[in-house]
Amino acid sequence: MPGWITDRPLDTGALLQRVCGPATGAAVLFVGTVRDHNQGAVVIGIRYEAYAEMAGAVLQEIGAEAEARFGARVAAVHRVGELGVGEASVAIAAAAAHRAQAYEASRYVIEEIKVRLPVWKEERYDDGSARWLDGARPEGQARH
């Protein structure tokens, strides 16, 4: 299953095309984007950092789990570097014969990314300050 880290803008259409085929009856594209606010602060951008050599393998592992559990085809990519408001930081494409499998596979991948993928984000605020966000302690295996 394709999964990788990139410092380039995400091509979500191409990602979706990777998973769709003649047997596809439903395809879900999830896109996470940088929003302009968090916990009352005005966010002007986010810098994403990854342990890239590990994160690519973890992303592929998560996608393979989703494919096995839900009978879907999955592709996922996470961006690193400086992102502005509205830019896509993560994209997940999931395709299956029926919509329930595609939705569940997509949801599985983003939830596992949140707790396992070695990626960190530093929010930048309109007052010039910046802060690494607290996240989840990374775990080795799926918890489900």
Binding site: Y51, H78, I113, K114, P118, V119, W120, K121, G135, P138
Partner: protein, 88 residues
């Protein structure tokens, strides 16, 4: 043996570096590598104060796999200290 210790994001900021080479005795574990980092930081003014903010048992990876603190190390291993992750 010689291992490479990698630090990311907030941990790198605390350590002031993203990569440290450490000499460890045979039989050392991933936890020993973290302890050696703290000891080494103690020799640099200011660094030990910042590293005190590292959690006592940070999440670890050995050779790019999530790993327990008692994982034994071998010469050439790559150990990474992983702050709480925040992707997406």
């Amino acid at each position: 043996m010689r291992i490479t210790l990698l630090l990311f994001a907030s941990y790198r900021d605390l350590a002031g570096t993203g990569s440290v080479t450490l000499e460890l005795p045979p039989g050392a574990t991933a936890a020993d590598a973290v302890a050696a980092l703290r000891t080494r930081a103690g020799e640099e003014p200011g660094a030990v104060h910042r590293l005190a903010r590292l959690p006592p048992r940070p999440a670890l990876a050995v050779n790019r796999r999530h790993a327990a603190a008692d994982t034994p190390l071998r010469d050439g291993d790559e150990v990474a200290l992983l702050p709480p992750v925040a992707g997406g």
